[in-house]
C-alpha cells in the first residue's frame, strides 16, 4: 500500500482543542440578544382526536410572547427524502389528531424557561381518545385501529424483491432452515439533546441547529414556512452526537422558526432528556423471518426473508427507506444466488422509528449470523468454514444487483478467529461456562442517495480557496457529528495539495457559505465528501501546476506538490514554494484567486427504486467480530471478557480516529446486545431516563482488540471506506453465538437478558 505524508497518520483532530477546553460552541451554548425560550406541549394520549384547544389563559401569562398551534404551522407535511414527498405524513403541530404519546400539539415562546413551562400548563386541550395499537403484527390485522388514513393494514411502505429461482432453490436444497428473530426498541441517546435556535430577521430565517443534514432540512423547512429556499439558512453547530437521530427536520425546528417569525426575536428550543427519549427517533424494532436452503456442503442456495419494521406513529422522513435498506443488508455478506425478500414498515401508536447507526444492519445481521451458526451446528460444520465457503469476494455481483468492488471479508474472518483463539477455545470452554464465537456483517460505504433531489444525483461538492500566504480553506457542506469528518476532509485536502494539515482551514455545514452536501448519514462522508474535496484540491493544484510548469519550463505532468513545495519529479531541486506558486498563478490571471472545485456523484441504478434490484452504493465494507463470553449459570448474566474486531476499511485515513469510531461501535453494539431496551406500556415509555435505560459505562466495556484490514478501494479517496456504522452489526450475533457455545442456549431475541438465559437453562419457568 502506498505511503503518504498525511494520510494514514494519527494526527490530533482539528476540533479537539476547542472540545477539550470547553470552547466548542454547541447549539445550546448559543446566546443571541433578546432570545426567547421555547417549549412544546405534547399529547398525553397514544391515539386521539383533538376536539378543542384553548390558549387564552396561557397567552395572558406575563412573559409569554407567542403561542402557536397547528393552525400556525400550516397543513404542509414535513419529511426528508424529497423523492418520497407524497409519503410525508407528519405535521409540525397536530391539527386534528395525535398518534403517539409525545406528539406535538402547541408551542410557546417566553422570556424564560419557568414562564414557558407555566404557560404550557395553562393551555387547555380536549381530546377524544381513540383505540390504539402498539404491536406491528396486531396493527396489520383487519379491524386494527387506523393510524393514518389511506394506509391499508397500517402498512406504511412495503419493499419486495426477488431474483433467481427461489422455488427451485428450495427444491434443490439438502436442508432448509427456518427461524424467527426479534430485536428490541433502542434509542440513540446522543449526549447532546436536540437543540435549535431560529431567528427571523429582514425576511430571512436562520436556523442554528444540532443536525447531521443542514441542506436536507432546509427544503422541507422552507416549504412548511412557505418561504423560498433562498430565504432559509441552516447552520449546523458543533454536534454532540447524531448516530442517525439528527438527520431529519423535526417539529421543534419548525416551531422554533414560526415562533421567531411571530415574535421577531430569536427563539431557542432544547429538548429535555425525557423528550429526547420519547419524541425524537428510535431504532426500528424488528421481526425477522428467515428461510435458508443449503447444499450438503453448506453452500447457500436460496434465502427468503420477511422483515417487519415497527415504525411507530409516523413515517419519520427517513423511515421510508427502512424496508429497502433492510433487504440490502439481507443480501450481505454472503453469496446468495436466489433470493426472495419482503420488508414492511408498519405504523403503531408509539415513538417514531428512524435511522440509527447501521440502520437495520444490526438487527438483520443479528438474525442472519445467528442463523449461520445454527445452520453450521445442524450440518456438523465448523461455523468459520460455513462462512468462508459463502463469503462474498471482490468483484462479486449480488442477486440483488449490488456491485462489490473491494472486499476483504474472508481476511477479517481469519484475523478475528486467530485473535479470539478459535481453534483452542471454540466448544472447549463449556466447563467454565465460557464460549467464543464470531458474528459478521456487510455494509454500504457511502449511501448513494442524496436526500434532496439533485441534478444528476450529485451528493457532494467542495470548493477550495488558496491564499497567497500558502494556506487553503476548504468549503464543504459535510457535517462533523463527532466522527471526525472535519479532520478527515482536511487531511485529504492537505495530502492532495501537498501542504501540512495546520495550513488547511475549514468552513463547513452552512447552507449559505458552503456548497451542497447530502449530509452525515449512510456512512457517506469520507467517501463522497472526501472524493469531492480531493477533486477540488486536484483542480486547484492543476491550476498551480499549469503556471509553475510554464515558469520552470517543465511539463505539468512531471510536477509534484509535497511538503509545501511544488517541484519537478525528475529534478526536485527545480521548484517553488507553494505560496509563491499561488502568487504567480494570480499574477498570471489578473488577480483571479485560485479556487478549485470538485463534485461527487454516484449513479444509483434506477431499478433500485422499482424492482429493488440494482447497485446502490459505490463500495461496500465487511467486518467480523469475535466474542469470548462467560455466563453466570446462576444469575444468567453474560459477561463479555474479550471482543476482537476486524474491519475491511479500505484504508485508515486517521488510524486513531478509526479506532475510536470502532470502539464506539463495539460499545453501542454491546448495549444493543445485552443492556438496552425501551419498554412501552400502552404506548407510554416506561424508562425514558439514563437510570433505567442502560447504556454501557466505562466499567462495562470488555477488553477489545481492533484490527484494521486495509485493501484500498479504487474509487474511494485514498482508498478509504466507511468505518463508523457497519461495525455495530457484528457485535450482537457474536455475543449470541458465544453464549450458545458456552451453555448451549440459543436466544433468538435481543437483548440477551439474564432472564432469557435462565429460562433457556430452565432455571426459571
Amino acid at each position: 500500500m502506498k505511503e503518504y505524508s498525511i494520510i494514514g497518520k494519527s494526527l490530533p483532530k482539528i476540533d479537539a482543542v476547542a472540545k477539550a477546553t470547553g470552547k466548542a460552541i454547541y447549539t445550546d451554548d448559543l446566546k443571541l440578544p433578546r432570545m426567547l425560550t421555547g417549549k412544546i406541549l405534547r399529547s398525553p394520549n397514544p391515539h386521539a382526536r383533538i376536539v378543542h384547544m384553548d390558549t387564552t389563559r396561557a397567552k395572558k401569562l406575563p412573559g409569554v410572547k407567542a403561542i402557536i398551534t397547528g393552525k400556525d404551522t400550516g397543513t404542509r407535511k414535513i419529511g426528508i427524502i424529497e423523492a418520497y414527498r407524497d409519503l410525508w405524513d407528519q405535521e409540525a403541530l397536530c391539527l386534528n389528531k395525535v398518534r403517539y404519546i409525545g406528539d406535538e400539539v402547541a408551542a410557546v415562546a417566553a422570556i424564560d424557561e419557568d414562564t414557558a413551562l407555566e404557560a404550557l400548563e395553562l393551555i387547555d386541550v380536549e381530546y377524544e381518545k381513540l383505540p390504539a395499537v402498539f404491536d406491528p403484527e396486531e396493527a396489520m390485522k383487519p379491524g386494527a385501529p387506523v393510524i393514518h388514513e389511506g394506509f391499508e393494514n397500517n402498512i406504511y411502505i412495503r419493499t419486495v424483491l426477488e431474483s433467481g429461482d427461489v422455488e427451485k432453490g428450495f427444491r434443490d436444497s439438502y436442508r432448509v432452515f427456518e427461524d424467527r428473530f426479534e430485536t428490541q426498541c433502542v434509542v440513540h441517546c446522543c449526549m447532546e439533546p436536540h437543540t435549535s435556535v431560529a431567528r427571523y430577521l429582514d425576511g430571512q430565517l436562520t436556523l442554528w441547529t444540532s443536525t447531521q443534514t443542514p441542506f436536507a432540512i432546509r427544503s422541507p423547512l422552507a416549504c412548511v414556512l412557505d418561504l423560498d429556499e433562498d430565504k432559509v439558512r441552516v447552520i449546523a453547530m458543533v454536534v454532540g452526537g447524531g448516530f442517525g437521530g439528527k438527520v431529519e427536520l423535526f417539529p421543534m425546528d419548525v416551531c422554533c422558526a414560526v415562533l421567531s417569525i411571530k415574535t421577531g426575536c430569536p427563539v431557542k428550543i432544547t429538548l429535555t432528556r425525557k423528550e429526547e427519549f420519547e419524541t425524537t427517533r428510535t431504532r426500528h424494532p424488528m421481526i425477522i423471518e428467515l428461510k435458508t436452503g443449503v447444499k450438503r456442503d453448506g453452500t447457500i442456495l436460496v434465502k427468503q426473508v420477511r422483515n417487519i419494521l415497527d415504525g411507530g406513529a409516523y413515517g419519520g422522513g427517513i423511515g421510508v427507506g427502512g424496508p429497502f435498506i433492510s433487504t440490502l443488508f439481507s443480501s450481505l455478506p454472503y453469496k446468495l444466488p436466489n433470493i426472495k425478500m419482503e420488508a414492511l414498515r408498519v405504523y403503531t401508536n408509539k415513538s417514531v422509528a428512524g435511522a440509527m447507526r447501521g440502520y437495520t444492519a444490526p438487527q438483520i445481521h443479528f438474525a442472519d449470523d445467528s442463523h449461520m451458526d445454527m445452520i453450521a451446528d445442524e450440518l456438523g460444520m465448523d461455523p468459520l468454514d460455513l462462512r468462508k465457503k459463502n463469503a462474498i469476494t471482490p468483484g462479486y455481483k449480488t442477486a440483488s444487483g449490488l456491485k462489490i468492488t473491494s472486499c476483504a471479508f474472508s481476511e477479517t474472518i481469519d484475523k478475528v478467529s486467530r485473535s479470539i483463539g478459535w481453534r483452542e477455545k471454540r466448544g472447549k470452554l463449556k466447563k467454565e461456562s465460557k464460549g467464543v464465537a464470531v458474528g459478521c456483517s456487510g455494509f454500504i460505504s457511502g449511501t448513494g442517495l442524496a436526500l434532496n433531489n439533485t441534478p444528476k444525483n450529485y451528493t457532494s461538492m467542495a470548493i477550495i480557496k488558496l491564499h497567497t500566504e500558502g494556506f487553503a480553506t476548504v468549503y464543504t457542506g459535510a457535517t462533523d457529528i463527532g466522527q471526525g469528518s472535519q479532520t478527515v476532509l482536511s487531511m485529504i485536502a492537505a495530502e492532495e495539495l501537498g501542504i501540512s494539515l495546520d495550513r488547511v482551514k475549514m468552513v463547513a455545514a452552512d447552507t449559505e457559505l458552503t456548497p451542497f452536501d447530502a449530509g452525515s448519514f449512510g456512512s457517506r462522508v469520507t467517501f463522497h465528501a472526501g472524493n469531492a474535496v480531493r477533486r477540488a484540491a486536484a483542480d486547484a493544484k492543476a491550476q498551480l501546476f499549469a503556471v509553475v510548469a510554464e515558469k520552470l519550463e517543465a511539463n505539468p505532468d512531471d510536477l509534484e506538490s509535497k511538503g509545501g513545495r511544488i517541484y519537478s519529479v525528475d529534478n526536485p531541486d527545480i521548484g517553488m514554494a507553494f505560496e509563491d506558486a499561488i502568487w504567480a498563478c494570480q499574477e498570471k490571471n489578473g488577480g483571479m484567486e485560485v479556487i478549485g472545485r470538485g463534485v461527487f456523484r454516484h449513479d444509483i441504478e434506477p431499478s433500485v427504486f422499482t424492482t429493488g434490484i440494482g447497485n446502490y452504493s459505490p463500495a461496500y465494507t465487511f467486518s467480523t467480530g469475535g466474542a469470548e463470553v462467560k455466563v453466570d449459570l446462576e444469575t444468567g448474566q453474560v459477561e463479555v471478557l474479550k471482543f476482537k474486531f476486524a474491519h475491511d476499511i479500505g484504508r485508515a485515513i486517521n488510524p486513531n480516529n478509526v479506532r475510536a469510531q470502532l470502539e464506539g461501535s463495539i460499545c453501542m453494539g454491546l448495549g444493543f446486545a445485552l443492556f438496552e431496551q425501551i419498554l412501552f406500556e400502552e404506548g407510554r415509555m416506561l424508562n425514558p431516563t439514563f437510570l433505567d435505560y442502560k447504556i454501557p459505562t466505562a466499567l462495562d466495556m470488555p477488553e477489545t482488540e481492533i484490527i484494521l484490514v486495509e485493501s484500498e478501494e479504487p474509487d474511494a479517496p485514498f482508498g478509504a471506506k466507511e468505518c463508523g456504522e457497519g461495525s455495530v452489526a457484528p457485535v450482537g450475533p457474536a455475543i449470541a453465538n458465544a453464549v450458545c457455545d458456552a451453555i448451549g442456549v440459543r436466544i433468538k431475541s435481543l437483548p440477551l437478558t439474564p432472564e432469557k438465559v435462565l429460562r433457556g437453562l430452565k432455571r426459571i419457568g
Binding site: 494519527s10 490530533p12 483532530k13 476540533d15 479537539a16 482543542v17 476547542a18 472540545k19 477539550a20 477546553t21 470547553g22 470552547k23 466548542a24 460552541i25 454547541y26 445550546d28 451554548d29 446566546k31 419557568d114 440513540h188 441517546c189 446522543c190 449526549m191 447532546e192 439533546p193 458543533v238 454536534v239 454532540g240 452526537g241 448516530f243 432544547t270 429535555t272 432528556r273 457529528i481 463527532g482 466522527q483 471526525g484 486517521n654 486513531n656 480516529n657 479506532r659 475510536a660 469510531q661 470502539e663 464506539g664 461501535s665 463495539i666 460499545c667 453501542m668 431516563t689 439514563f690 437510570l691 447504556i695 454501557p696 459505562t697 466505562a698 466499567l699 466495556m701 477489545t704
Partner: protein, 154 residues
Amino acid sequence: MAKNIIQLKVNGDSYQVLVKPNMTLLEILREELNFTGTKKGCNEGECGACTVILEGKPVCSCLVLALEAEGKEVVTIEGLANGDELHPLQKAFIDNGAIQCGFCTPGMILSAKALLDNNPRPTDIEIKEAIAGNICRCGGYNVIVNAIKTVTKQ
C-alpha cells in the same frame, strides 16, 4: 420566589450573581456566568456531562442548588488550561484521539483530574470507577482510559 445575591468562586475568580432558589449550579454556570463548557446532558445526575469540581470533589452540578455553592471553590473545564498551556489531561485526550463528539469530554476530563489529584497512580479499575459516572455514547471508554493512563505514567 425571593432572589438572593450570592458570591461564587469559579476557576479562582469571584463573581456576584443573582439567583433564584430553584436554580442549580449548572444553570448559573451556563446561563449567568457563561461557562458553557459545562454541559447539560440529562439534568438528573445520571450522565455526568455537567460534572464540575466542587471543593476538590467531582459532583453533578445539575443536582447542586446554586445557593449551596455559595462561597465554595468551583472548577470548570475552562479553569484547567493556564492561558495557552493546556492541562496534561487535555493534551492527553487530544493526542490520543480520545475526543469524538466532545460533549462528555469536559465532565470526563474533570472526573479524571479529580482522580489524579487524589491518586496520581491509579490502577485501570480505579480509572474506570472514577469515570463510571460519565457516559460517553460515542463509546470511546477504552480510548479514554488509555489517554488518562498516559498522564499517570508521568
